[in-house]
Amino acid sequence: MEFLLQPLTLLTFFPLLGVLVILFINAEAKNIIRWVALVTSLITFGISLWVLTMFDASNVNLQLVARYDWITVAGWNIQYFLGIDGLSILLVLLTAFLTPISILSTWTAIEERVKDFMIFFLLLEVGMTGVFLAQDLFLFYIFWEFTLVPMYFLIGIWGGPRRIYAAIKFFLYTMAGSILMLLAILWLGIYGGTFSVPDLVALGSIPADIQWWLFLAFTAAFAIKVPMWPLHSWLPDAHVEAPTAGSVILAGVLLKMGTYGFLRFNIPLFPEATVKAAPWIALFATIGIIYGAMVSYAQRDVKKLVAYSSVSHLGFVMLGLFAINPQGIAGAILQMINHGLSTGALFLLVGMIYEQTHTREINVYGGLWKITPIFGSIMLIVSLSSMGLPGLNGFVGEFTILLGAFGSQAIGNTAYAIISALGVIMAAVYILYMFQKMFLGPQGEIVDEVKQHGHALRDLNWREIVTIVPILLFIFWIGLYPKPFFALMAPAVEHLVGMLPLP
């Protein structure tokens, strides 16, 4: 019992209880299944808030630790080891926050095989929370790989026309990176005699040349997940084909697993290699920012546009992380949250209109604001947040990152920060282009087309508003008063930077 009542264990595995309940519900009782899933994820969110109340931000060590020996024979030393600190708490909260929202968004969008859908979705939540909490490399790897399975089904069963291709591509791409990381994990386990991350960090420096290889192996896994240019090609396919809720979680949380991986493993485990690699990562991040923005602008499919904008936004996060100074990393963590909120919201909104029109072609839309004023207004706020308008959340994150990158010793060249700043302007271009095409100007052909099918385009209903408003609250909160968010992570970030051998 003591094992199960650990707050972090409870937080990670509570959704399994919902899965168990759903397993015994008749597949035809769709609404009951939806409610069970929603309530389960809401309770999980409640548990995450409970964890937050117990969390002490001034303590830089892992907290609420649940640590038990798991496999300890024949030189193995694997532990069941969960813990939370300033680097992960916001991401854990984000996961618990976005899951009920995503489930709510599927209420009418998913009609087929609701039971399977909810089971996979709750399993996915277990995996994601586990990734952010696991402090043992073996446990982490299990959660990390496990998230692939439900996501693969979500894309493959409920996705668009090319869903099978997208699902397999997603799976194989991600796995390709992970297995290289597996070898590095095994090497570390043999070298240190333990898989526990804090113990490995405390063990001290690994020989520089080996450290470099290990760094690269971990980078392979995380860079594909982020995704960093040029490893991003799975992302647009996965996003376009995934059902709305899948896209929200994919953009909102799964991509963050990659950036979080850099933060939790690459930087503290391989400090010398991190410093050495910083200029290179900054280069790729900058290319990603510009490339993602340019390709976004070229898209005619609104979901693809948002997908490529993720490449650009995640480039900022990477730039911030490898600036390796407190501003850069703190900005990066906040930007992970921001991206989760605003891109998640964008996918939700796109999904809401798609449910009515069944097309994502930007050109067929136009003048929507007049017909659906609430939808248009919310879309505007979210778009502005995504492009980094001051006063909204995106600005705070990107500004802090650029500040960090500008003064970064590790990157050592201000050019990256300057070029990346252009990315902010380019974001304004593609986002406003999209908004203008869809919501302003003459009425698009889709409006009549929908009318011909008997029902005019409607504005957001209550359920949809309830789905999106919580995100809006945070968009404003972070934008106007980000201090409590920074306060949660600042000591941990300072501590992390203090460990690195900066030039």
Binding site: W70, I71, T72, V73, A74, G75, W76, R113, D116, F138, Y141, I142, F143, E145, F146, L148, V149, Y152, F153, G156, I157, R163, I164, A167, I168, F171, L172, M175, A176, I179, L180, L182, L183, L186, W187, G189, I190
Partner: protein, 482 residues
């Protein structure tokens, strides 16, 4: 030359099972044709009792019959696994042979004889005994492969397996002869003693290599795998399931005992050869599996590929610092593979119709919707074969790759993980077909089959979460081996 009770103690499980099979052969004559289920039940009972006896011997380590056979942690571990495979094999076969109209009592007795041969393989410490055990395990399997006569594919499978199997046995015998020529003995311990005295290693090396070729055939390692796809496809599926696990386990057990006990001196040469065999087997098995459209052929190539993974554990057999961990990892992987493999074949049997119908991967379309439990089980098995959490396959690979890296063969581990990636493609195709394509598959509902599939799926998942005791057992099993 007097045999003491200790001698008999060494081989008591083997003697018990063989005697049981002989008696059953007679008893079966009095069991009416329509009640052959009784024979199946009695066979399973014999296996269960033998399993009980085997488990009661955990912890005993001694040799008997003048050094011809050994009882130790290793043989107990392998024998327990073999007996369990036998029970699963009967559970899978019971309804299947009935459905195919090939339900004859000999099926079960042949299975028992084959298992007793496999058990002897794990215990033999003399090359002559190894040869006898090899024949005892193989000949019933040749018959079983052709059991669906007069179906041509089954007869062909039996014939092919017999011819190539006999060929392989020839290699083992020839190798044995050369080893005897080099060392003057066929006893493994005597060979070891003589090899360390500095006898001509050339002859010994050639002999060992020929023995390796023979075992390579049995475990289906590339380039000695040619028979595998045809035999696996042609043989009755229940036989294939048993062959894919049982024969592989026994082959590896003998390979391991012979090489670890008698030929550590040859490790310098053998390591390179084993390295190449393992790498080739993993690469070829996984790549050719991609293009298969028949599930039995796909699983056949998958079994070849897995032979490659298990072979990896043998590569550092001459390195005292790591060999115990490495071999223990191999044993663990064998367990993981056996359970997963039986489960996957169980699903194949559930879908297969008479006249070899519904064996294409495309026949699995819609299974996820029509039979969610069966499809979920198959998904577990496919994930386990890829090496994905939360399954035994992942823990097995983790253990195995760790041992290989610890032994310094990072390149081989790299090949291992990359081929796992390739394998994900074809295993996932089965999952894609089950869940993402529409179809109307029908399934045979058989109690024992369902039970076997369910149990293996549960073990595959649950044991991966609590692998501690299995780990411990595998590590203890190899302690007395060297």
């Amino acid at each position: 030359m007097n045999l003491t009770p200790q001698d008999y103690q060494v081989l008591i499980p083997y003697i018990l099972l063989t005697a049981w099979a002989c008696v059953l052969l007679l008893v079966d004559l009095f069991i009416p044709k329509e009640r052959k289920s009784l024979t199946a039940l009695l066979s399973a009972l014999g296996l269960a009792i033998t399993l009980g006896v085997t488990l009661s011997q955990v912890g005993i380590a001694q040799t008997g019959f003048f050094g011809m056979a050994a009882l130790d942690g290793f043989s107990t571990f392998v024998n327990a696994l073999l007996l369990l495979s036998g029970i699963l094999g009967i559970a899978l076969a019971h309804g299947y042979v009935k459905r195919l109209g090939i339900e004859r009592g000999e099926y079960y007795t042949l299975l028992l004889f084959s298992i007793s041969g496999m058990m002897l393989m794990a215990q033999a410490t003399d090359l002559i005994m190894v040869f006898i055990a090899l024949e005892l395990l193989s000949i019933p399997l040749y018959v079983l492969a052709a059991f669906a006569r007069p179906r041509v594919s089954s007869e062909e499978a039996g014939m092919k397996y017999f011819l190539l199997g006999a060929f392989a046995t020839g290699f083992v015998v020839y190798g044995t002869a050369l080893v005897f020529g080099a060392t003057g003995s066929t006893n493994l311990y005597a060979i070891l003693a003589s090899a360390s005295n500095g006898t001509s290693t050339l002859l010994l090396t050639i002999g060992a290599a020929l023995v390796l070729v023979g075992f390579g055939f049995k475990v289906a390692a590339v380039p000695f795998h040619m028979w595998t796809p045809d035999v696996y496809q042609g043989a009755p599926t229940a036989v294939t399931a048993f062959m894919a696990s049982g024969a592989k386990i026994a082959g590896f057990a003998a390979l391991l005992r012979v090489f670890a006990t008698a030929f550590p001196a040859l490790a310098v040469d053998m390591t390179d050869i084993l390295w190449a065999l393992a790498a080739l087997t993993m690469i070829l098995g996984n790549i050719v599996a991609i293009s298969q459209t028949d599930i039995k052929r796909m699983l056949a190539y998958s079994s070849i590929a897995h032979a490659g993974y298990i072979l990896m554990a043998f590569v550092p057999y001459g390195n005292p610092a790591v060999r115990e961990v490495s071999i223990a990892a191999g044993l663990f992987y064998l367990v993981a593979y056996a359970f997963t493999n039986f489960g996957a074949w169980g699903v194949v049997i559930a879908l297969e119709k008479n006249e070899e119908k519904e064996l294409a991967i495309t026949d699995y379309a819609g299974l996820g919707r029509k039979h969610p439990a069966l499809a979920a089980a198959m998904t577990v098995f496919m994930l386990s074969l890829i090496g994905f959490p939360p399954t035994l396959g992942l823990v097995g690979k983790f253990y195995l790759f760790r041992a290989v890296i610890a032994a310094g063969f990072t390149g081989l581990a790299m090949i291992g993980v990359l081929t796992s990636l390739i394998s994900a493609y074809y295993y996932l195709r089965v999952v894609v077909t089950m869940y993402m394509k529409d179809g109307e598959p029908t399934v045979e509902r058989e109690t024992w089959l369902g039970l076997a599939t369910g149990v293996t799926a549960a073990v595959t998942v649950v044991a991966s979460l609590v692998p501690q005791s299995l780990f411990a057992w595998a590590s203890e099993a190899v302690l007395n081996l060297f």
